[in-house]
């Protein structure tokens, strides 16, 4: 038994842990700078992160040595449990206008939606690997989407747009992995993009052109292609009118429903300060513990959402480039494990997890540099945040487990 564990551990693709440890070090170093320079007494972000590291690593190892068959067998049950778990916060207290955390007498809250991210991935993987689906048919995409949509809707009501987005993100690459037609995936995403693009004439024109090319190249039946094209255009044209017919307070209500952390003005301030912190760091940064934007507190939520700005300010472009390369290496490594997996279930799980990490990295950094609106998504292994740290290490546990060649 013990030998079996040892064997499992040794045969795991342990090299990804190098990336994880490197990223974790950058995160802890930064958290230490923030808390030490600003003379925050423990328990602070740094010390709490260290404490959370203990269950995180233990759970990673536990998942790493768990039988794949066991996971495969009970994943639907776990899916059911996690659906209930994301509903539970609604019965608890409202924190900062949201129902995200469950309090069970611990000094901190647990965020079940963090775990739900990868539970959805495994559930999807099982569904997509168990059934010999005719992925050429559009209809085969409906059930997988539904599997992801159920928890997503619940999380959206918490409300937590960022997490909901991360939950939906793996569906498309996973469907693509099992052979869904890109055209079909495109059709599913198109209406949402039409609505988003509708607020800018130039963007909408470009989008309309891309849509026309994609539909044309996919050679659907004429009436079908034309119908889809013009219903998307119509949606894009009508939506701004619908939106503008709302009163400002109604618009705000909708906006804050999706994004409760930040009023528009506050978000603008955060982005400006984040970009200022980054930009003023320059090539080599102001030096560890020397960030003026950080330590004079111009930079908001610096230990979680905007930790990249702290790194950029204190350690400079060099450090951020290194960090981006580390993430790239980690994600590419997971995708390579996916293609080398002999089993579809394993491959799909790895693809799903790679997507979750990719989404977190891109959304967090893009928000930090002002490319997308503020969404509270933390940076894996770097940002402070207990539930997400634990969840990230559990995902690494899954990668180590399912990246292993041997079958059990």
């Amino acid at each position: 038994m013990l030998l079996n564990f040892q064997k499992k551990i040794i045969e795991s693709p342990l090299s990804i842990l190098i990336g994880v440890i490197a990223l974790l070090s950058v995160g802890l170093l930064t958290l230490f700078s923030i808390t030490a320079i600003q003379e925050q007494e423990p328990p602070n972000a740094f010390s709490k992160q260290l404490i959370f590291l203990v269950p995180a690593v233990l759970l990673m190892i536990a998942i790493m040595v768990t039988s794949k068959r066991f996971i495969h067998k009970y994943i639907f049950i776990l899916y059911g449990i996690i659906i209930i778990a994301v509903i539970l916060p609604f019965f608890g207290p409202k924190i900062a206008g949201t129902y995200r955390w469950i309090y069970m007498g611990l000094p901190f809250g647990l965020q079940p939606s963090e775990i739900a991210k990868w539970v959805i991935v495994i559930t999807l993987a099982r569904y997509l690997s168990d059934h010999n689906l005719q992925m050429r048919n559009f209809g085969s995409n409906i059930v997988p989407f539904t599997i992801a949509l159920i928890p997503t809707f619940i999380v959206l009501r918490q409300p937590d747009l960022g997490t909901a987005f991360v939950m939906m993100a793996p569906v498309i690459p996973m469907l693509f992995w099992v052979g869904a037609r890109p055209y079909h995936l495109f059709l599913i995403v198109a209406p949402l993009l039409s609505i988003l693009a509708a607020f800018n004439v130039v963007v909408f024109s470009v989008w309309a052109a891309i849509m026309a090319i994609v539909i044309f190249l996919s050679r659907p039946q004429l009436w079908h292609g034309v119908g889809i094209y013009f219903s998307n255009i119509f949606l894009g044209l009508i939506f701004p009118f619908l939106w503008n017919s709302l009163r400002p307070f109604q618009q705000n209500r909708v906006l804050t429903l999706f994004n409760p952390e930040s009023d528009p003005l506050g978000a603008g301030y955060q982005i400006i300060q984040s970009k200022t912190a980054l930009g003023s760091g320059g090539l080599f940064g102001k030096g560890w513990g020397q960030g003026t934007q950080t330590h004079l507190k111009f930079l908001p939520v610096q230990e979680s959402d905007f930790i990249v700005s702290v790194i950029g300010e204190e350690l400079g472009f060099i450090a951020l480039l290194a960090m981006v390369v580390l993430f790239l290496w980690l994600i590419v490594k997971i995708i390579r494990l996916a293609i080398n997996a002999s089993d579809r279930f394993a491959g799909l799980i790895l693809i799903g997890i790679a997507t979750i990490f990719m989404t977190h990295v891109f959304v967090n950094c893009a928000m930090t540099v002002g490319m997308i609106p503020v969404k509270g998504l933390p940076l894996p292994f770097v940002s402070y945040g207990g539930s997400f740290l634990v969840s990230s290490f559990m995902m690494i546990g899954l990668v180590l487990n399912f990246g292993r060649e041997e079958m059990d």
Binding site: K68, R69, H72, K73, S129, D130, N132, P173, F176, W177, Q273, K275, T276, A277, L278, G279, S280, G281, G282, L283, T292, Q293, L296, K297, F298, G312, G316, F317, L320, L321, V324, V325, F327, L328, I331, V332, I335, R336, A338, I339, A341, S342, D343, R344, F345, A346, G347, I351, A354, M358, V361, F362, C365, A366, V369, M371, M407
Partner: protein
């Protein structure tokens, strides 16, 4: 289990890898753009976030009199500020302050609202705090939050004199004034700026250069740590200005004018320097410093005697008989009369269907030019004036500054009015006026108007035969005035006549002579009829002794006859100046 093989094409793998690489490249490029390409921009922005500069006020230069006596000085006062973001309970703080320094909370509230810029900047609550008030505040310090004070130099004035119209006053910069001021960005809200008089004219000399103190703040505007790399700049005080004023003369004339309305000017004809500049009534020069209460202000602006009016430069009056020297000189120069010309004065003069009276209703009898000036006979001039055209007279008078600004180094002066044909036509129409108007002008009445300051310049011309400089307060003007074209013999005649105005027993100005041995006074009286009641009393004179010379212009509004009220006042001036001067010489 896990029956399904993972049969995935390589191309799918590469699609995904490409996608992942693109996303990471976008991030890396964006970091590059912000941190390398836009580094300068964001670095500056980060600095402006944290670096605060507060300006340190420079103390204004002093204003001195001709002997170096201080007229305007500075003294330190304290200003109390509140920082919005740091005041925890405004009402409570106001109550504590109000209790300590005895100022009503409503004033604090009002000031806070008036001067408020943002939560993190100090907002002025009270100014002009004394050390005692400050120490009482220090005692209550524990009950205060976000309250601070700063030293601020304030103007203080020599108690002997007021001279408010010359010195001018300072005004506090408000938003509107800053917007109007395009040229100089050095001023900021709450700064004091010279707003009239010498304070305005010599603003650039007096104001000095403000200093800058840098410090670092955090996101809440609180001071946070030392700032490296920015050197504080100390303020440098403004330069003093030495005026030509003589405090003791100014004091004397101000005393003489107490309860009267009018003007007293003393200047040095050889230099143009002004020794005394009195416009009565005036106001306390510190009226505009500190907090003017509304009632004080109302009192000043609703005073029917208009103390804010600078009568020296902005009051315009008919010159009356003091104009007669211009008329006499014009006629002499054009050979239209001679010293031998005689006229018989019966006390009035018939001109067509109008009767023009002489001031002496009994008449002066047979009278020549000398006596016409000495006794100020109007009838002589009524007759003589008919020999000259209005335009000729106007052109001649303009050489003496009539109708022109004196260009003294003080802001805002009126230029009076010297009527010519074109002017009269404009005013009354081509046929609306007749030669009769000329008769009025000949005795300095009618349409002609002058400022007392112009008369000071005119007196200096008469005193020096035209070899004088423009009037000045601080900066002597090297260039002489453009000399009127007058033959020396005419100058000599006029000066002889003016001397007789004082020395002749019948001379109208005889009351101005303090009878100091060696002192020779020449002058002319005037009595200006006006629609506001009693005539204005004029007296212009210049006195010379041992190479020292001053000229005096006295105007007493509604004072009566120049010889009776204005001339005696001039006597006191001459007496003090020429007696004082001697003692000064001995002392020094």
């Amino acid at each position: 289990m896990l029956k399904t093989p993972n049969s995935v094409s390589k191309s799918k793998f590469w699609v995904m890898i490409t996608f992942v690489i693109i996303l990471h490249s976008v991030l890396a490029f964006r970091f590059f753009q912000l941190q390398i390409l836009d580094f300068e921009f964001y670095n500056k922005r980060a600095d402006s976030n944290r670096i605060r500069a507060i300006s340190l006020p420079a103390s204004r230069g002093l204003i001195l009199d001709r002997h170096g006596e201080i007229i305007v000085d500075n003294y330190p006062t304290y200003i109390l500020y509140g920082i919005g973001a740091e005041i925890r309970d405004k009402q409570k703080n106001y109550k504590v302050i109000s209790h300590s320094i005895g100022i009503d909370t409503s004033i604090l509230k009002k000031n806070y609202k008036n001067y408020y810029r943002n939560r993190f900047l100090p907002t002025r609550l009270v100014k002009d705090l004394t050390i005692e008030q400050l120490s009482r505040l220090e005692e209550a310090k524990n009950d205060l939050s976000g309250i601070m004070y700063k030293q601020f130099p304030e103007r203080i004035y020599n108690p002997k004199i007021r001279a408010s119209h010359v010195l001018g006053y300072l005004k506090e910069m408000d938003q509107e004034m800053i917007q109007k001021m395009v040229s100089n960005g050095d001023y900021e809200y709450g700064d004091l700026v010279g707003w009239s008089g010498l304070e305005q004219e010599y603003e650039t000399t007096l104001k000095g250069d403000k200093g800058v103190e840098y410090f670092q703040v955090d996101a809440y505007g609180r001071e946070a740590g030392k700032l490296e790399g920015e050197e504080n700049i100390l303020s440098s005080p403004g330069n003093n200005i030495s005026t030509t004023l003589d405090v003791s003369l100014q004091q004397l004339i101000e005393k003489e004018f107490r309860g009267k309305k009018g003007v007293g000017i003393v200047s040095d004809p050889r230099t143009g320097g002004i020794l005394a500049y009195v416009s009565a009534p005036d106001y306390k020069p510190d009226l505009f410093t500190g907090l003017i209460s509304n009632s004080d202000w109302q009192e000043v602006i609703s005073d029917p005697n208009r103390p804010l009016l600078n009568r020296v430069a902005n009051g315009t009056y008919p010159p009356a008989s003091i104009f007669k020297m211009v008329v006499a000189l014009a006629l002499l120069e054009k050979n239209l009369i001679s010293p031998q010309t005689e006229v018989f004065c019966t006390g009035s003069y018939e001109f067509y269907d109008r009767t023009f009276g002489c001031w002496s209703e009994f008449g002066h009898g047979k009278i020549d030019l000398e006596q016409a000036i000495v006794q100020s006979c109007d009838v002589f001039f009524y007759q003589a004036i008919q020999k000259i055209k209005l335009n000729e007279l106007a052109e001649f008078a303009k050489q003496f500054g009539f109708g022109y600004e004196t260009n003294i180094d003080l802001p805002a002066e009126m230029k009076g009015r010297m009527p010519d044909r074109a002017f009269m036509n404009r005013l009354y129409g081509r046929w609306g006026w007749s030669q009769g108007a000329m008769l009025n002008i000949s005795i300095g009445q009618g349409e002609i108007l002058v400022t007392p300051l112009q008369m000071a310049a005119y007196t200096n011309i008469l005193a020096t035969k035209g070899n004088t400089h423009p009037l000045y307060m601080v900066q002597a003007k090297d260039d002489f005035i453009v000399k009127p074209i007058v033959r020396n013999q005419s100058w000599n005649l006029i000066q002889k006549y003016m001397r007789k105005v004082i020395s002749d027993p019948k001379g109208t100005g005889r009351r101005s002579d303090p009878k100091i041995p060696g002192l020779k006074i020449s002058g002319k009286t005037g009595t200006a009829e006006n629609p506001h009641g009693e005539p204005h009393a004029w007296f212009i004179a210049f006195g010379e002794k041992d190479g020292a010379m001053i000229s005096v212009v006295i105007l007493i509004e509604n004072g009566g006859h120049g010889g009776e009220v204005a001339a005696p006042m001039a006597r006191k001036i001459f007496k003090q100046y020429f007696e004082d001067d001697k003692t000064k010489l001995v002392n020094s």
